[in-house]
């Protein structure tokens, strides 16, 4: 602000100064150039201003020096201002840098403190954790010892109970055994008494049985004697009846034989008459057959004659057909060969005829022999180059020679490339 105001003052002062100088200079130049001006325009009046040129120059010089000194002062002040500004800026930057350093230091200190705090906390936490773990471990050991002691006491108690139970069981078993022995002795005594009683009963029963059997035997002998007498009487009666029956049978057989002889004689007579009739019939049939065969033979001869005639005609037709077919075949061969030659002259065999290749190419042609489509079916011993060469040979041969007879035309062509 101060510098702009001093600029304005300086500008005003310099303006005044320059105006003054201009006036003085005009006056001076006019003074110096007066003779020339007079020569150029003598008619116009000259208004002379009388001044001391030396004095004026000194004044001007003094003013200029003053001005220069003032300008130098202004320049010095400006430079000082710039230097001051630079210093202030440097100080500001230094202050900022220091502030930043301080902040950075504080941040680092804070970080260090934080880190230390965290480290302390971590160590404390670790220590607490270790203590907690130790306490837990001790508690666990104590609990484990208690548990083991309880288990041991329980085991002892159970063992005592088991021994007591075993002792009671042994006593009970002994009492039972003694009771059982006593009962067995009583049972044996009772059985012995019963056996004696049963033996006495058994002897009495045997005696009574022997008496009963003797009585039965005597009765049986009596009954047998009666049965034998009855059988003898029955046998005599049966023999008389058998003799009577034999006599009656002989009579019946004689009557039957006489009847059979009569029937046989009648049958033979009938057969003889039948045979005679059949012979007559056979002879008639033979005569008829002979007549029929003769007619048939005549018919066959006629048919054979007709057949031979037909065959002759067919042979002639067949010959004609063969001639035609042979002609077609010749045409087909010529056509086939001319197609082959056309393709052969265009096939550039990349193997140079090494002979170890065999390719089959299928093509389709139009009625006028234009090749419409080519594809390799199989190509053994070759590669893509060989395949392209055989396909190109067929493509380049288009249009093929036309079929000499429409019956020979075939849209599908199979080319076998088989260099020998």
């Amino acid at each position: 602000m101060g510098s702009s105001r001093s600029h304005a003052v300086a500008w005003l002062l310099s303006l005044v100064g320059h105006t003054l100088i201009a006036v003085l200079l005009v006056a001076e130049i006019g003074f110096e150039r007066a003779p020339t001006v007079v020569e150029q325009d003598v008619s116009s009046p000259i208004q002379a201003v009388v001044v001391n040129a030396e004095e004026v120059r000194e004044q001007i010089q003094a003013m200029e020096d003053e001005e220069q000194a003032r300008l130098d002062a202004i320049e010095a002040a400006r430079q000082a201002e710039i230097d001051e500004a630079k210093r202030i800026e440097a100080e500001r930057l230094e202050a900022i840098r220091l502030e930043e350093e301080r902040i950075e230091a504080e941040r680092l200190e804070a970080e260090r403190l934080e880190a230390e705090r965290l480290e302390a906390e971590r160590l404390e936490a670790e220590r607490l954790e270790a203590e907690r773990l130790e306490a837990e471990r001790l508690e666990a050991e104590r609990l484990e010892a208690e548990r083991l002691e309880a288990e041991r006491l329980e085991a002892e108690r159970l063992e005592a109970e088991r021994l007591e139970a075993e002792r009671l069981e042994a006593e009970r078993l002994e009492a039972e055994r003694l009771e059982a022995e006593r009962l067995e002795a009583e049972r044996l005594e009772a059985e012995r008494l019963e056996a004696e009683r049963l033996e006495a009963e058994r002897l009495e029963a045997e005696r009574l049985e022997a008496e009963r059997l003797e009585a039965e035997r005597l009765e049986a002998e009596r009954l047998e004697a009666e049965r034998l007498e009855a059988e003898r009487l029955e046998a005599e009666r049966l023999e008389a009846e058998r003799l009577e029956a034999e006599r009656l049978e002989a009579e019946r057989l004689e009557a039957e034989r006489l009847e059979a002889e009569r029937l046989e004689a009648e049958r033979l007579e009938a057969e003889r008459l039948e045979a005679e009739r059949l012979e007559a019939e056979r002879l008639e049939a033979e005569r008829q057959e002979a007549l029929r065969l003769e007619a048939e033979r005549q018919e066959a001869l006629r048919q054979e004659a007709l057949r031979l005639e037909a065959e002759r005609a067919a042979r002639a037709a067949e010959d004609e057909r063969r001639r035609e077919a042979a002609e077609l075949d010749r045409m087909l061969n010529r056509w086939n060969r001319s197609i082959a030659q056309r393709v052969e002259s265009r096939w550039i065999d990349p193997t140079g005829g090494s002979g170890e290749v065999s390719c089959s190419v299928k093509a389709r042609q139009s009625l006028v022999g234009d090749i419409l489509f080519v594809t390799t079916v199989v190509c053994v011993g070759g590669n893509a180059q060989l395949e392209r060469s055989v396909e190109n040979a067929v493509l380049k041969a288009s249009p093929l020679p036309q079929a000499p007879d429409p019956r020979l035309f075939d849209p599908v062509l199979i080319f076998t490339f088989n260099p020998s």
Partner: protein, 434 residues
């Protein structure tokens, strides 16, 4: 006819019968043979936006032609030049009897950045088989073309391509002894872009790739009185001396894990094989035989080192477990078999085989033990397999000058590599590059 094809025929006949039953009637046509050559493919000139210094389609067509299994059609026969699949009029290509079509575009994005897009199209099925976009720098445009070739080979032939790889070889320039310069050159797999990475007046020999393709080991006679084996970063040129002992320092061969280099040293008088640990420089003597043991090369699993030895009189190929042990003779046919190279799939052993007075490249099938002589030159040497095991690069002579030849591992395809002037020797095919 052997039993196997007869069985095949029966099988196909059965399948055909099944089909014909399903199809009711069908005309059956037997194709007894085809025509030779590759599958026709059209590599249409790529659409170009901006300044494009390479003809991508031309590089791809040239790569594909070298497979022997694909036959790029001449540009002048093409009826139209589509640059994307939507613009393809299939009838145009069917008339040309072209099986496949490659269309694409190259666009200059910034001064040195490009965008290359291609589509591989099946003409008769009217289908895009593969479509890829690359973003090469200007000096990688050829590489992008080789990547396209690899992608096409993979899609059409079902094998991994090896066009995006490099060759290293020794080239001798100058006719007189005084003007002679030995150069180690790295080129693209098609011989283009040769870059000299070492050039000196003293001999250079036996370059060998590190398994990641980033470094080369070779023998140099630049030091007075002693040969030395160097390991050099192919990109930065930074190099270290691996060995320089009294006598022979030769034939470095990098192990598949990149940790060791097998070399030939003559520390005890006669040449023997040693393994040098690349990290520590420690060495381990692998063979100890009064005969000459040299030209080590590794089996792809790193378990064996194959080498040439004359312990039986003439040079023959042997192998020894890489951690030592008894060695085992591998070649028995002929009196001279040397310079072994095992195919990366581990199935074949390539070598130089003497037939009469001629030295030719042969391969031994390691499973059946059958030897197959692949080349017809008088002095063919230094066979080296492509990383897909399909091709072998070797040095041969053409009108008295050393050139590079390439032959397929089955002998069906033979090419001469169009290389720069000079006498070219000892080629080595790089592994697959990252």
């Amino acid at each position: 006819m052997t039993g196997f094809p007869r069985f095949l025929s029966c099988f196909v006949l059965m399948c055909t019968l099944v089909v014909s039953t399903a199809a009711n009637a069908a005309l059956r046509i037997e194709i007894k043979g085809g025509v030779g050559g590759g599958q026709p493919i059209a590599v249409v000139p790529f659409g170009v936006e901006g300044n494009v210094p390479e003809d991508i389609a031309q590089i791809v067509a040239s790569d594909l032609n070298r497979t022997g299994k694909l036959a790029p059609v001449a540009r002048e026969n093409m009826i139209s030049s589509p640059t994307r699949s939507e613009d393809v009029r299939y009838d145009n290509w069917k008339i040309l009897q072209v099986d496949y079509l490659i269309v694409g575009r190259v666009q200059q994005v910034t001064a040195l950045d490009y965008q290359v897009t291609f589509e591989l199209i099946d003409v008769f099925r009217q289908r895009v088989l593969t479509s890829v976009q690359y973003n090469p720098r200007q000096n990688q445009l050829r590489r992008a073309a080789h990547k396209i070739s690899d992608a096409v080979v993979e899609a059409l032939l079902g094998t991994t391509g090896a066009f995006d790889t490099n060759l290293v070889y020794v080239s001798v320039q100058g006719d007189t002894l005084d003007a002679r310069r030995f150069e180690l050159q790295v080129s693209d797999s098609d011989g283009a872009n040769p870059t000299t990475i070492v050039s000196q007046s003293k001999p250079l020999m036996s370059p060998s790739w590190s398994p990641d393709g980033g470094k080369l080991a070779y023998v140099s006679f630049e030091n007075p009185r002693r040969s030395a084996i160097f390991v050099q970063d192919r990109y930065t040129g930074q190099r270290e001396q691996l060995a320089s002992f009294e006598g022979i320092n030769g034939a470095p061969a990098w192990s598949p894990d990149g940790e060791k280099i097998a070399v030939t040293l003559s520390l005890r008088g006669t040449p023997d094989l040693y393994l040098i640990d690349v990290g520590s420089g420690n060495r381990f003597q692998l063979t100890n035989n009064p005969a000459i043991e040299t030209e080590p090369t590794w089996s792809p699993d790193g378990k064996f080192v194959y080498f040439t030895s004359d312990r039986a009189g003439g040079p023959q190929i042997y192998r020894i477990p890489a951690d030592g042990g008894p060695s085992e003779r591998m070649t028995f046919e002929g009196k001279y078999n040397a310079s072994p190279a095992v195919s990366p799939d581990g199935k074949l052993l390539a070598m130089v085989h003497q037939l009469g007075k001629d030295f030719r490249i042969a391969v031994l099938d390691l499973e059946s033990n059958l030897l197959d002589i692949l080349t017809r030159g008088k002095l063919d040497e230094s066979p080296s397999f492509s990383p897909n095991s399909e091709m072998i690069i070797y040095a041969t002579e053409e009108s008295g000058r050393g050139v590079l030849g390439a032959v397929s591992a089955d002998g069906a395809i033979k090419l001469n590599m169009p290389l720069t002037e000079g006498d070219v020797r000892e080629p080595a095919w790089s592994p697959t590059l990252p």
